[in-house]
Symmetry: C2
Subunit: 254 residues, 2 copies
């Protein structure tokens, strides 16, 4: 049995807690939150504290606090030679106070409290100072049915950056699609199968192979019709930027 | 039984032919292609011609030619009072020669010959001059197990434009993610669950609600770390454009 203390209960803490509760061979022995009011979403049978000096004994202490708080919170932990890991994509393992055995347990996923996650579909990016701690993190990943990847800080950082492109910016493109649909009184539902297929297509094809559309074809007529339709200057700017880049990538002149 | 002649055999023609073959109550009685060499991917039992004057009798003639060819090909069709539809998202129904009964049968999806499509997941955008033709197009859609939407030309055009954002540009963001992974020797596979979840999340949340990341939080520290990591000027430009737009949308100052 792997005993875990969760430090912080934001989006990552919430989903990680849920995944551990659903697994066998792992348990959340305690949750720490600095908030004086305990989160409603926490099941009553999980012990919770807001006193950082009152942490229970555990095998792994998982920090799910914000990136900025990793240094200060890890300094405050009154623990002796315990494995303390953070869950940040963009923070060095060495941000954790050096009194601890340090590691990283970064779930590469987009978490919102309102949306259920199949945690087993979440890749875990692991880093640890000591071999035996890496083994324990791998065991924890396996208990959650997750695929684990041993990655360096630089590799993890580049994934975190890539995630901003493929998730944050992609979602903003969906938002623009949503706006265009609303303006023209078309249900956004009609776009959803295309959105899904765009994501699923890369199972069979690289993004380079999967590309379609007027920019790839160098289809100036369609491009200028689209630019005429767009009223929002920001949407025009995005349209032009991507169109130029895609056309260039496929050797088309516009 | 609805009898269809397919005019053109590109990506759309290929997938539509396959979907009709798999359905009951509809058959492709003939395929026309202007190419002298017949496409290898066409099953041997489908009659094929490259003589436009030799078309068989059918209930619906579906043009899957390029947008530019719709006017000229429809003018050449030696048909009398037959239903001729095109499959273009961005072309008026009236591009079809007025000697025909005209309509539109636009499948909103991304088609590549190398990737199998579940056609029943493809929304069909329909338009027709005559009520009875709309009924026939709806019947054809139902035979393919597709959801059909009666849309005006303007609505269809706005969907076509939206599709460029949510498919073409999104796929280019995947391409950038792929490049960043390759540069840092991280398998692109690690990003795929996030890409899928980004697309599936909008089943439960609007894109506005689903947004996460440093731009939404106004997290300047992470943003400047990311900009330091990016070496490609085009990637920097995209990063800055989206970050500004997302921050503004959520009332954050950067």
């Amino acid at each position: 049995m792997i005993r875990v203390v969760l430090i912080g209960f934001g989006n990552v803490g919430f989903h990680l807690h849920k995944a551990i509760k659903a697994s066998t061979n792992t348990e959340v022995v305690q949750v720490y939150t600095r908030k004086s009011k305990f989160p409603k979403k926490l099941p009553k049978d999980t012990p919770i504290t807001n006193t950082i000096d009152d942490l229970f004994d555990a095998d792994i202490y998982i920090l799910t606090v914000s990136d900025d708080a990793i240094i200060s919170v890890s300094q405050k932990l009154a623990l002796d030679n315990k494995l303390v890991v953070h869950t940040s994509g963009n923070t060095s393992m060495h941000a954790i106070d050096k009194r601890h055995r340090r590691g990283v347990f970064y779930p590469l996923q987009t978490f919102s409290k309102e949306r259920k996650i199949d945690f087993s579909e979440t890749p875990l990016c692991l880093e640890a100072e000591h071999k035996e701690d890496m083994k324990l993190l791998e065991e924890l990943s396996a208990n959650l049915n997750c695929t684990a990847h041993k990655l360096s800080t630089d590799q993890r950082r580049s994934l975190h950056l890539s995630a901003v492109f493929v998730n944050n910016f992609t979602n903003h493109l969906y938002r623009i699609g949503h706006e265009l649909c609303e303006t023209n009184r078309v249900p956004f539902e009609v776009l959803k199968p295309l959105i899904k297929e765009t994501a699923n297509k890369i199972d069979d094809l690289t993004p380079f192979m999967a590309q379609t559309g007027p920019a790839k074809r160098g289809d100036n007529k369609t491009i200028s019709k689209h630019l005429d339709l767009l009223e929002n200057e920001n949407h025009k700017k995005i349209y032009n930027t991507f169109t130029q880049l895609i056309a260039k990538l496929y050797g088309k002149e516009l």
